[in-house]
Amino acid sequence: MSTRIVELRQGILKKNDQLARALRERFGAAGVLVLNLVSSPGTGKTSFLEITLRELRAQGARTAVLVGDLETDNDARRLARSGVPVKQVNTHGICHLDAEMVGRNLDVWEGLALADLDYLFIENVGNLVCPSSYDLGERIRVAMLSVTEGEDKPLKYPTLFNSADIAVITKIDLAAACEFNRELALGNLEAIRPGIRVFETSAKTGAGMEEWLRFLTSQQAGTMQS
């Protein structure tokens, strides 16, 4: 019996990568800075975003949020209180957002024009494994970890932390209570993603948020097409 080998040499996620590339071009043309926030469940993505949105709004920036969740719309309702447009993406059991879901939800988002936005935040599904493989067309991927999760998170989930552009350590108000070893955590982040910039924040006390907002503002200025 004769068989033949067909060489494909093609990315498994080629479709997603193509969609993500198209989204990235669209975001660039609209001058909107897009960030993809990824962490374990409960790290504090929504709390961190609530403050970020409030502060950006106070500065007069135009912001919107896409929030991925397995089933509920709790996060969307929390975020909507900050007064910015929020859209919930229920993934119905899928453990990550992909570029198709992002594109589709942007297309059906009534009253939202990308060109009118300065920032679009995407809160990914709480999961440290799956979102790392799916490019959403974001400019900045933010990997977050809380002081309550243990300093070795970056070593246990190197794929995600290695694919991140920025790291945020959350809940630093609890650092002492958790005997959080800051040097160890920073060292582990550096080991997995040499040179990564790290923000240390608390949604309870607001610590570190000023520096984060300055960073956002400077990055948004960089999205302007010349």
Partner: protein, 142 residues
């Protein structure tokens, strides 16, 4: 869960490629998967049968080549394989080396197919083989 989406993406991509060979069945799918790609081989195998059911890939074998992480070190200008959990450091000089040159792959390398004519009629397959079935952009070797 994640491997289920991956497996579905593989089936979709392979199905598109075998469309150029009407009636062909896929015998084997070869993947190249980097250590940093976050794909667990066992989980992929676990759902393979279910995901391929009813498609041209039904009953096919999955062959996975796992690629270690290779980094480029800016200090000594060398490419080296690194240990996954130890962090990304150059094993030669010990400096941090985040320039990953291999290890993120998530690729379908090739597929082995059995064409329809050959299965139904071994003699007829000789003539079928002569026909041109080269789809655009796909290299082929027998």
């Amino acid at each position: 869960m994640h491997e289920l989406s991956m497996a579905a993406s593989i089936v979709e991509a392979v199905t598109e490629s075998v469309a150029a060979y009407p009636g062909a069945r896929v015998r084997q799918v070869r993947l190249r998967v980097g250590v940093l790609s976050a794909v667990v081989e066992d989980s992929l195998r676990f759902c393979w049968e279910i995901v391929t059911e009813g498609s041209a890939l039904a009953g096919s074998e999955l062959v996975v080549t796992v690629l270690p992480v290779v980094v480029h070190c800016a200090s000594c200008n060398a490419l080296s394989e690194v240990e996954y959990f130890g962090g990304l450091r150059c094993p030669r000089c010990g400096e941090p080396a985040g320039d990953v040159r291999q290890g993120r792959e998530l690729e379908i390398e090739s597929i082995e197919i059995e064409e329809a004519g050959e299965m139904e009629d071994a003699v007829a397959s000789q003539t079928h083989r002569a026909g041109s079935r080269f789809p655009g952009g796909i290299e082929e070797r027998v």
